[in-house]
Symmetry: C2
Subunit: 112 residues, 2 copies
Amino acid sequence: MPYIHDDTEECKDCHMIADVTENELIDLAELFKIFGDSTRIKILFDLFHGEKNVSQICEDLEMNQSAISHQLKILRTSKLVGARRDGKSIYYSLADEHVRMIIEMGKEHIEE
Amino acid sequence: MPYIHDDTEECKDCHMIADVTENELIDLAELFKIFGDSTRIKILFDLFHGEKNVSQICEDLEMNQSAISHQLKILRTSKLVGARRDGKSIYYSLADEHVRMIIEMGKEHIEE
DNA sequence: TCAACATATGATAATATATTCATATGAACG
DNA sequence: CGTTCATATGAATATATTATCATATGTTGA
């Protein structure tokens, strides 16, 4: 695979983005996969408005609590959202500005 | 679903990105889903270097032609790549700069 | 401590997705 | 026109993913 290298050595054949290894590409696909589900993207979008607890997210998306929790776990594991406990509730929020930017970027693409 | 509206009317409850409808979010997830497969992202990445025909892509990714063609069809349908025929070969290329930017954005997120 | 509430988790079933194999289409050229 | 090369496509299988149901964990306050 000429342009996808096993390590991060300088590539003799190409000069653009030869520093991307196969594993990095797999990670990248993994990241986009997280955004590629409508429930998860609705959750992320819901969190654009600030932090929310699980019950609020369930109400907003009109979905059952278990489904939401399962997806929140995936988002947490991928470090796309953060969580903090306050009493019985757990509040979720977007992890960083990248999340916002990636979504905005996709939005722009679609809106054309 | 307070923050996800069925139409694009002005929202009374929120002021940020209330112009996103549920269908737009589904489209957005659909777009990210395309990037969320390692074969497709390798193809897109391969095309960063300029247009290539199917055989070249197969060689670069070390994958069989049918698998590549199936994924190219998905990329074509989603308008992420363009295709032109030259004799017996069909040359594929990235459709626009957004594709490049979305990938770069994800790459940045990962590299942190 | 126990009941009530909020959230997480495991198992299951339904659905979606990717790859492979076999074959079809389509172009070039003798 | 028939063969060869390049690509596309359909069917089948294997695998991954999601939502649901039932239940577990953890927190609060009586």
